[in-house]
């Protein structure tokens, strides 16, 4: 069902955790639906300097969270903001159809975190 890349990110998730006093923080999802994701970022010189996540959810939810932290790290804030839902799925060599819903959350969570950062710094 899951690609090897999904399984890799699921079993060895990157950038797990919380950041104290992050520059931006975004939470999406709803635990009653079985998925809730929080992404924390710090920004330095307009680049994502550090990024961490915490996720309650299935294998796909965890893998997409992990993947998006890798995709975003080191990019400019605008570039990171532009990472779309499909980019994450593609980077993981695809996701099962039924899992598209929860895997979309990763891109949403990152965007929410960036919006949080922007609103604090505008």
């Amino acid at each position: 069902m899951y690609s090897e890349k999904v399984m890799d990110h699921f079993t060895n998730p990157r950038n797990v955790g919380e950041i104290e006093n992050p520059d931006g923080e975004g939470t999406v999802g709803n635990p009653t639906c079985g998925d809730m994701m929080t992404i924390y970022i710090t920004v330095k010189d307009d680049k994502i300097d550090d990024i961490k996540f915490k996720t309650f959810g299935c294998g796909a939810a965890i893998a997409t969270s992990s993947m998006i932290t890798e995709l975003a790290k080191g990019r400019t804030v605008d570039e990171a903001y532009a990472i779309g839902r499909n980019d994450v799925a593609e980077a993981l060599d695809g996701l099962p159809k039924v899992k598209i819903h929860c895997s979309n959350l990763a891109a949403d969570a990152l965007q929410t975190a960036i919006e949080d950062y922007r609103s604090k710094n505008s």
Binding site: T32, D35, T55, G59
Partner: protein
């Protein structure tokens, strides 16, 4: 591999496979033909029918073969509903809220066709209350269909009492015994049951074959039509290989029943104690005692079941979950909802179902592997706060 998903399916036992073998390529006759090869097939089939009847205390001519538990459930529920309704006997069906989809969905379709269905609650224990059943019965009630053992949480329903009440009220009683036959004693007479569903692949027989006990004199309206096989109720060329396999699986299961019950119960209790003791905020879903010998259904706060199953799978341990995320419909198991779990809690379920070929060593391994997995997933979880 440590296989602990016996409620999903079981391998075909070597002994069962051996008995089946000659019927693939040598004694392959069509049982409805009357020449030697057909008679050979027919004899094997009748011998199997005897073995199936025997494990539930029925007569041979009260057993028909079907393509599985799903067909048995459908033949019964649609068959009784249409027949009795046509005869003007009423349109009310009583079932439980934790039935297998083969019963649940069939009842739902009948509702759309004008039948009335009462879904009895099962409370936190996952067991229907006799009082509720009594209150639900009315003049129009034509069928009570309540499963013997639940496939997810393994709880046992009070089928003997249900049967007694059904009989007193002259209502037909069907039980889906797919999970109980071969694992605990099942006797159609003690149960006062009119119809009982069996599936082969849950008891080390092949997939694609099942049986239905139909008490002598019970009339059903057929739902499939064809060459008249199996009393016009499950037509089609008889699946001799499957039938022979199911028969042998029943024979062996009956022979080893006592031994297996105590062996599997012991493993189950060790597994429950081992995990509950080493993982905080872990619980058992459903009544702790009135459950199948081999069924364990854990609940872990703060994490999601599919990820537990995947991590166990990576360690070579096969398990399952009722979490919404593991279903194609993305809704939590109706069984977990029925025992009152809030959605968040229903996500963290883990089912381990033990069979007689599991060893104490394997149980120890599972007890060792689970805690670090739970800990890891909780450390990732956005809703877990230690």
């Amino acid at each position: 591999m440590i296989y602990m998903d016996h409620s999903a399916t079981t391998p075909v036992r070597e002994e069962v496979f051996e008995i089946m073998k000659p019927y693939f390529t040598r004694s392959f006759g069509n049982a409805s033909t009357f020449y030697s090869l057909g008679r050979e097939a027919k004899e094997a089939m009748e011998n199997a029918r005897e073995n199936v009847a025997s494990i539930i205390g029925a007569n041979k001519d009260e057993i028909i073969f079907t393509s599985g538990g799903t067909e048995s459930d459908n033949i019964t529920i649609q068959g009784i509903a249409y027949k009795l309704n046509e005869m003007g006997k009423g349109n009310h069906i009583i079932t439980s809220s934790i039935e297998h989809p083969a019963v649940m969905e069939t009842c739902a379709v009948l509702e759309k066709k004008g039948f009335e269905v009462t879904y009895l609650p099962v409370y936190e224990e996952g067991i229907v209350k006799i009082e509720d059943l009594k209150n639900a019965i009315k003049e129009e009630t034509i069928l009570i269909t309540i499963m013997h053992a639940n496939n997810e949480i393994g709880t046992l329903q009070p089928v003997n009492e249900i049967g007694k009440i059904a009989k007193e009220n002259k209502i037909k009683f069907h039980t889906d015994a797919v999970q109980s036959v071969g694992k605990i004693p099942v006797d159609v007479n003690e149960m006062n049951v009119d119809l009982l569903s069996i599936s082969s692949h849950k008891i080390y027989g092949p997939k694609g074959i099942g049986a239905l006990y139909i008490k002598k004199g019970t009339r059903l309206q057929p739902i499939l039509f064809g060459g008249g096989q199996e009393k016009d109720l499950s037509p089609g060329t008889e699946n001799i290989v499957g039938i022979v396999g199911l028969g042998e699986a029943c024979r062996l299961a009956k022979e080893e029943l006592e031994k297996n019950i105590s062996y599997v119960t012991n493993l189950r209790d060790k597994l429950i104690d081992g995990v509950l003791n080493s993982v905080e905020k872990s619980y058992i879903n459903g009544d702790k005692n009135k459950r199948l010998p081999g069924n364990v259904n854990f609940r872990f706060t703060g994490i999601e079941g599919e990820s537990i199953v995947l991590m166990l799978d990576a360690k070579g341990i096969t398990s399952s979950t009722g979490s919404a995320c593991s279903s194609t419909k993305l809704t939590a198991s109706h069984v977990l909802k029925a025992i009152g779990l809030e959605n968040v809690d229903s996500h963290g379920s883990l089912r381990l179902t033990i069979g007689p070929e599991n060893t104490e060593e394997e149980v120890k391994t599972v007890i060792k592997e689970i805690p670090p997995i739970i800990e890891k997933l909780r450390s990732l979880s956005s809703i877990w706060n230690k």
